[in-house]
Amino acid sequence: MKIFYSLIILSLCYVIIFSQAVFAGTVEEEFKIEGLISPASPKALQSALLKKLAVKIIELRLKKTKTGWPVLRLQFDTETISREKIEKVIGEIEDPAGHKYKVHHGPLLANAPLLDEEQQAIAILGDTPEAFPIMKNPITDKAASANRGEKLFVNNCVKCHGFTGNGYGTVAHGFTTWPRQLWAWNNTGEETDGYLFWFITNGRSDMPPWGLILSENERWDLINYIKTLKNPGDE
């Protein structure tokens, strides 16, 4: 009985070894590719690879891969070429813009764990800045409100933002950054009202917190006027 079992095991081993010897020649392997940065990159990689190596390109998948990296699937003969050799050749190929390709190894480290110093700072200052509240513009008569806002704009905002809202007001010279072009808010939806109200109320950089100077209704009037400003170049 012992001899019978040993014969079966031996024959199984023989089958496994024999099948490996038959199929060892040709394998299919995947390579995660770094450096595909332009639409011309995939074609350039594939044509250069075919010129330099005796491999068959099965697929170059750019989207919906497991790791997010583009995956190149190659079929090659392990007796004539090794994986290391293919990786080396891929690393030597340049795309039309002069960037080199590379085979990616290891996991993607998009964001390393926080350092002790960062954790301490977050504990002191908090993790996220104060978020602006979602607010609804309470004023229904937008035209009358914009008229009132225009007067407020001329008295308070023009010296920095300019009459047209172009950001080149007379006293804006020498600021850290030029004030923003206010016509960017033209035709924007109601969802921007809360942000504008928060921005005007609290100020930023060289802009003072207008919440200390103007009443709530006056700030809404200003927002209604700002949203009517148009780029003079578009008219």
């Binding site: 770094e34 450096g35 595909l36 940065i37 332009s38 639409p39 011309a40 990159s41 995939p42 750019l62 989207k63 997010g68 990296w69 583009p70 993607l108 480290l109 998009a110 964001n111 390393a112 764990p113 350092l115 110093e117 960062e118 301490q120 700072a121 977050i122 002191i124 200052l125 800045p129 850290t176």
Partner: protein, 117 residues
């Protein structure tokens, strides 16, 4: 865009007076990549991961021993950014800035504050 990362530098005025506000400029040569590229032009243009993502994620400002500010950034930060901010000169102590990038690497720079008589 700098190809290599260079240590941060701080510039401040030489005419700082006690209890007055002064401007601090910090320059840091550090490349910034979202890591994405448009690769599929044949069908619908899509972004795919092209190179490892790299950006400065935090800048801390210390005045003396005290942490006074934290700048939190994303991959939208510019290459080689220049930061400008203001501080009130309350003591003759060094200003230190610490940068940390998304790979967890750290850079520091410091400069002493001295009052002008």
């Amino acid at each position: 865009m700098a190809k290599t990362i260079r240590d941060p530098r701080i510039r401040i005025s030489r005419r700082i007076k006690k209890d007055k506000v002064f401007k601090v400029k910090v320059k840091f040569d550090h490349p910034s990549f979202t890591g994405l590229g448009i690769v599929d032009a044949e069908t619908k243009p899509v972004f795919s991961r092209a190179i490892p993502v790299s950006f400065i994620r935090n800048m801390f400002v210390y005045y003396g021993d005290q942490l006074v500010s934290r700048f939190r950034m994303s991959s939208a930060i510019a290459d080689d950014p220049l930061f400008t901010f203001k501080l009130k000169a309350i003591q003759e102590a060094p200003i230190k800035v610490v940068f940390v990038d998304n790979q967890g690497k750290k850079w520091e720079a410091s400069k002493k504050i001295k009052y002008k008589n």
